[in-house]
C-alpha cells in the first residue's frame, strides 16, 4: 500500500524550475531515500510535501488525499512531520518543553479550560506529561531533561528534533539530512535509531542524506534527483549500478579517466 504519492510535481520560482515533473510513490512502513547532488531539489520536495511551498503543477497525495492547497499545520495534522536540514529547535526552551510542546495535538482542552484549570485540563495535561516523559526515555534524552535545547551537543539536538517530530504521532516522518555533521560512529547509531523508530512507531520514513553508507544501509527504495528531475529509482544496488547516477555524482567516464 502506498502512503505518499507524487504525480508529475513541478515547482517553479519565477522562471527557475526547482522541481520538474517528478513522480514517485512511497510504500507504507518502508524507509525511502531521496538523494542527489546539492541543489537537486530534494529539500524543495520536502517543502512541497509539508505545504511550506505551494505546488505549481501536479499533485501530492497522502493516503489518497490531496495535500496541495493545505496550510503546513493542516498537513501536520494529517500525520506528516519533518526535521530540518539546519536544525530548527525551540532553542530557549528545555529539552522536555520542546517535546511537550509538540505533544499538544494529543490534548483537546480549550483556552477557557486552561484558565479555569478544570478536571479536563488536569487529566489531559497529565497525559501530555507522560507522553513527553516516555518519548524522552525512548530517545535517550532523559538525563538532559532540563537542559536548554540550544546548549545541547549537536548530535543530541538532531536527536531531539526527531523526538519532537515523533511527539505528534505522525504516520510519515521526513528527515532532512539527519546525519549532517555527524562522525561515522554517530551515523551508524543514527541508522539503528531510524530503523528502531520505524518499527516501534509503525512509521513510514523518507530520508534525504548525503552519507551514502547511511542511505545504502537503511533505505529500501531510493530516488535520485538531479537538476530538479528524477534521474533514477530503485533499490540501493540498482541505483549504485546505474550509469546515469554515477555520471551525476562523479562526472562522465572520459573525464574521470583523464
Amino acid at each position: 500500500m502506498k502512503v505518499l504519492e507524487l504525480k508529475n510535481v513541478t515547482k517553479q520560482f519565477g522562471g527557475l524550475t526547482a522541481v520538474g515533473n517528478v513522480s514517485f510513490e512511497v510504500e507504507k512502513d518502508s524507509i525511502f531515500g531521496l538523494i542527489g547532488p546539492n541543489g537537486a531539489g530534494k529539500t524543495t520536495i520536502f517543502n512541497l510535501i509539508t505545504g511550506i511551498y505551494k505546488v505549481t503543477e501536479g499533485e501530492i497525495l497522502f493516503e489518497g488525499r490531496g495535500t496541495n492547497s493545505l496550510e503546513p499545520y493542516r498537513v501536520a495534522e494529517m500525520g506528516i512531520t519533518r526535521t530540518f536540514q539546519n536544525i530548527r529547535l525551540f532553542k530557549k526552551l528545555t529539552t522536555y518543553d520542546n517535546i511537550l510542546t509538540a505533544c499538544h495535538h494529543n490534548a483537546r482542552y480549550s483556552l477557557l479550560d486552561a484558565v479555569i484549570r478544570n478536571r479536563k485540563f488536569k487529566a489531559e495535561e497529565k497525559g501530555l506529561f507522560e507522553q513527553a516523559q516516555e518519548l524522552m526515555s525512548i530517545m535517550g534524552l532523559e538525563d538532559r531533561k532540563d537542559v536548554v535545547a540550544g546548549n545541547l551537543p549537536y548530535g543530541l539536538q538532531r536527536r531531539l528534533e526527531i523526538a519532537r517530530a515523533l511527539a505528534s504521532r505522525p504516520k510519515l516522518l521526513m528527515l532532512d539530512e539527519p546525519a549532517a555533521g555527524m562522525n561515522p560512529d554517530e551515523t551508524a547509531r543514527l541508522m539503528e535509531l531510524i530503523k528502531e523508530i520505524r518499527d516501534r512507531f509503525n512509521l513510514t520514513v523518507v530520508v534525504i542524506e548525503h552519507h551514502m553508507d547511511l542511505i545504502m544501509g537503511v533505505c529500501e527504495r531510493i530516488v535520485v534527483l538531479n537538476f530538479g528531475k528524477k534521474l533514477a529509482e530503485g533499490t540501493a544496488q540498482q541505483v549504485q549500478a546505474n550509469p546515469k547516477v554515477i555520471e551525476a555524482y562523479l562526472g562522465e567516464k572520459e573525464v574521470v579517466v583523464c
Binding site: 509539508t50 501536520a76 486552561a114 536548554v148 517530530a165
Partner: protein
C-alpha cells in the same frame, strides 16, 4: 508624602500593569512587537466611558464592554496585518495606534481634541488590585498550558511550529485579541480614574512606554512584567526631587538596565514557590544540580 499621593501612584501603576500584562503575552511570549497598544487602550477607555455615561451601565460591565471593543478592533487589524513578518507588523501597529488617536481627535461626539470631561470616578485602589490579580492569574494559567507552550513555540521558531501542527495565524490572533482586551480594561480604568479623557493621552509615547516596560522586566516573564510596571511607573514619581532632570534619570536607568542585563530584569524567569526553593538549594553549602530553568542562558 501623604496616603492620597501614594494611592494615586499605586493606582496608576496598577493600570499600567494591566496593559503591560496584555502586551507581555503578545511581545514576551508570542514574539510580536506592537507599538500601537495605546490605540487599544484608547478604544477601551472611550467604549467604557460610553458604556457608563451614554448607556448607563454599571462600571464592571462597562469595563467588559471596553475590553470587547478593543478585542474586536484588534481582530480586524489582526486579519489585515498578522501575516506580516516582524518589523512590518510593528510598523502596521504603529500606524494603527496613531490612526485611532487622530480619529478620536475628530469625533465631536466624544469631545474631539478638547477631551471628554465628567466621567464618573469609579476606579479605586481595591478595584485595580482585584482586577490585576485576576489578570495575572488568567495569564499565568494560560501560559502554563498547551496553549501557552504554543505561543512560546511561535516566538522561538515559526516554521517548526507549523510543522508540528500549530495554527500559527490563529495563535497570533488569539494573543493579539487577549492583549488588546487587557489594554482595553486598562484604558477603561484610566478614564474612570482621571474622570477625563483626551486623545492626547494615548499618543505613540504611551505605546513605547508599555513596550519598554515589557522589555525592561524581561521578555517571557510575567513576574518581570509586574516588577517592570511597578518600578517604571513609580520611578518618575520618586525622582520628583530631581525636578527637570527627572526624565533624564529615568532614561539613564532604563539604558543602564538594558546594558547590564540585556535580557531584562527577570530574563525569562518567574518568581514561583518552586523556583525560589530551587534558588535556595543552589546556594553555596548545598551542592545541588546546576541547571537552567528558563531561557536565561547566555
Amino acid at each position: 508624602m501623604d496616603w492620597f499621593y501614594i494611592k494615586g501612584i499605586l493606582i496608576l501603576s496598577g493600570i499600567n500593569l494591566m496593559a503591560v500584562l496584555g502586551l507581555s503575552l503578545l511581545t514576551g511570549f508570542t514574539g510580536l512587537f506592537s507599538f500601537g497598544h495605546a490605540g487599544f487602550m484608547a478604544i477601551g477607555a472611550y467604549v467604557t466611558a460610553m458604556g457608563t455615561i451614554k448607556l448607563g451601565l454599571p462600571f464592571v460591565p462597562a469595563l467588559l464592554l471596553g475590553a470587547t471593543g478593543a478585542a474586536m478592533a484588534s481582530f480586524f487589524i489582526g486579519r489585515l496585518t498578522l501575516n506580516l513578518k516582524g518589523d512590518y507588523f510593528c510598523i502596521a501597529t504603529l500606524g494603527f495606534g496613531e490612526a485611532i488617536r487622530l480619529i478620536l481627535d475628530n469625533v465631536q461626539y466624544f469631545g474631539g481634541a478638547r477631551g471628554w470631561p465628567g466621567i464618573p470616578v469609579s476606579t479605586n485602589l481595591t478595584t485595580v488590585v482585584i482586577l490585576d490579580i485576576i489578570g495575572i492569574a488568567v495569564l499565568a494559567n494560560l501560559i502554563r498550558s498547551r496553549h501557552g507552550r504554543n505561543f512560546k513555540a511561535i516566538r522561538e521558531e515559526e516554521m517548526a511550529s507549523q510543522t508540528i501542527g500549530i495554527n500559527v495565524f490563529r495563535y497570533k490572533m488569539t494573543a493579539l485579541m487577549i492583549s488588546a482586551a487587557y489594554a482595553g480594561i486598562a484604558g477603561g480604568l484610566l478614564g474612570h480614574y482621571l474622570g477625563f479623557l483626551q486623545p492626547k493621552m494615548f499618543q505613540f509615547v504611551k505605546s513605547t512606554e508599555l513596550t519598554i516596560t515589557v522589555i525592561f522586566g524581561g521578555l517571557g516573564s510575567i513576574s518581570g512584567s509586574v516588577i517592570g510596571a511597578l518600578v517604571l511607573t513609580s520611578l518618575p514619581e520618586l525622582l520628583r526631587t530631581f525636578a527637570i532632570w527627572r526624565l533624564v534619570v529615568y532614561g539613564a536607568a532604563v539604558v543602564f538596565i538594558m546594558i547590564t542585563r540585556p535580557q531584562g530584569l527577570m530574563g525569562g524567569y518567574e518568581i514561583t514557590p518552586t523556583n525560589i526553593k530551587k534558588l535556595f538549594s543552589r546556594l553555596p553549602g548545598s551542592v545541588g544540580k546546576k541547571q537552567a530553568v528558563g531561557g536565561d542562558k547566555k
